[in-house]
């Protein structure tokens, strides 16, 4: 038995956890992104070599994950702003969270083919 149990928070707490996790993931992406883009100042050849290593299905799947993280962080960010500045925000925070999740699912479904098109074509034929 552990020293203590996990606090059983509700939607508000878990949306905060998800907001943190996606925020950190986006930070790491930006970190790598700035590094590889700045390589072009070192030499265009080095930049091309690095970007060539990205051209595989796993990185493509990570791109879809990046879309997922940014969409959630952006939509939930709007919810947090509403909680802060709209007088009825705290009252409707739960409904707003489920709206965020709903819009997120629709946008993720919409992004599925455009983002993963290349991988789908190479893996499952033209």
């Amino acid at each position: 038995m552990p020293a203590g149990t996990l606090y059983r928070g509700r939607e508000g707490m878990w949306s905060w956890v998800a907001h943190r996790v996606t925020g950190v993931l986006i930070f790491f992406f930006l970190f790598v992104h700035v590094l590889d883009t700045s390589l072009v100042r070192v030499s265009p050849q080095a930049y091309d070599n690095v970007v060539a290593t990205y051209k595989n299905p796993i990185v493509n799947l990570m791109e879809y994950g990046l879309v997922a993280a940014i969409l959630f962080h952006a939509l939930n960010g709007l919810r947090v702003i509403a909680v802060d500045f709209w007088a009825k925000g705290p009252k409707y925070q739960r409904q707003m969270l489920w709206s965020v999740v709903g819009i997120w699912i629709v946008l993720m479904a919409g992004a599925f083919y455009p983002v993963l098109e290349h991988t789908l074509r190479t893996l499952f034929g033209s």
Partner: protein
């Protein structure tokens, strides 16, 4: 016409009138810690015969009075007013005296732990000093200027209603110790202190609003709130704690209160 009467007795009413006790066996799983004996934390299971309509506090009493007198917890009034027995029951902050066994699934073991974020002294007792220090720091008393009036300080019903919600606080610390920010940063004022500042900031008779807002404008003040709503969910008095914190934030920006 006849007076309205209850012609059908419910099963629960029958049971209550017959004076019969419904007995079930519950498992109470308590986090025990006694620094005088060991630095190790242990979880101890107690099998108890209880009525599902009894409260978690009754179960704790049964353990303390009939099984193990060394079990230590705080309680005073035992009726949800004194705010002594906030603890983590099945992972959530609640008052043991307001939690009925039947409402928290008595078929599974019921876990009871001390509230998080403050040093555990023994079993379910934590050091509440940081909590009450934050409360004192927001100056939870009426501040006025000028001469004292010779009669009451009058207030309209609307002005009274403005801060009605935050007058309900019983300082049980269920909110503050449910806050993830407070767990990681004990310097944060915490929801309870902000609720009690709110109670005076939005009181039309009080003139210390500016001072209190300045205190809460600190980096460990209201801006640390991440709106996780754990405090609002945990409050046994149903205070909309997060809403109160947001109102203080907005008062700091607009200086209207």
């Amino acid at each position: 016409m006849s007076t309205p009467t209850l012609d059908k007795h419910s099963a629960a009413l029958d049971a209550a009138e017959s004076g019969a006790f419904e007995q079930i066996t519950i498992t109470l799983r308590v986090r025990r810690f006694n620094p005088e004996v060991s630095d190790e934390v242990t979880w101890v299971d107690y099998q108890l015969e209880m009525d599902p309509k009894e409260r978690v506090l009754d179960a704790l009493h049964k353990v303390k009075w009939e099984i193990d007198g060394s079990l230590t917890f705080r309680r005073s009034c035992a009726h949800g007013i004194c705010g002594s027995d906030a603890m983590r029951i099945n992972g959530r902050n609640r008052l043991a005296c307001k939690t009925l066994l039947k409402d928290i699934n008595p078929e599974k073991p019921i876990t009871v732990e001390p509230i998080k974020g403050m040093a555990v002294l023994k079993d379910l007792v934590v050091d509440m000093d940081p909590f009450f220090q934050a409360y004192r720091d927001v100056m939870p008393f009426l501040i006025t200027k000028g001469n004292e009036p010779t009669r009451e300080r009058l207030q309209s019903a609307e002005d009274r209603a403005r801060f009605d919600d935050t007058t309900k606080c019983i300082l049980c610390a269920a909110c503050t110790s449910s806050c993830p920010v407070f767990w990681n940063d004990g310097q944060y004022f915490g929801p309870a202190a902000i609720v009690n500042a709110h109670r005076f900031i939005f009181d039309s008779r009080d003139e210390g609003g500016e001072q209190r807002l300045e205190i809460l404008n600190d980096k460990e003040g209201v801006w640390r709130c991440r709106t996780t709503f754990n405090c609002t969910d945990a409050c046994p008095r149903g205070i909309e704690v997060t809403k109160a914190i947001q109102e203080v934030k907005r008062a700091l920006i607009t200086r209207r209160f």
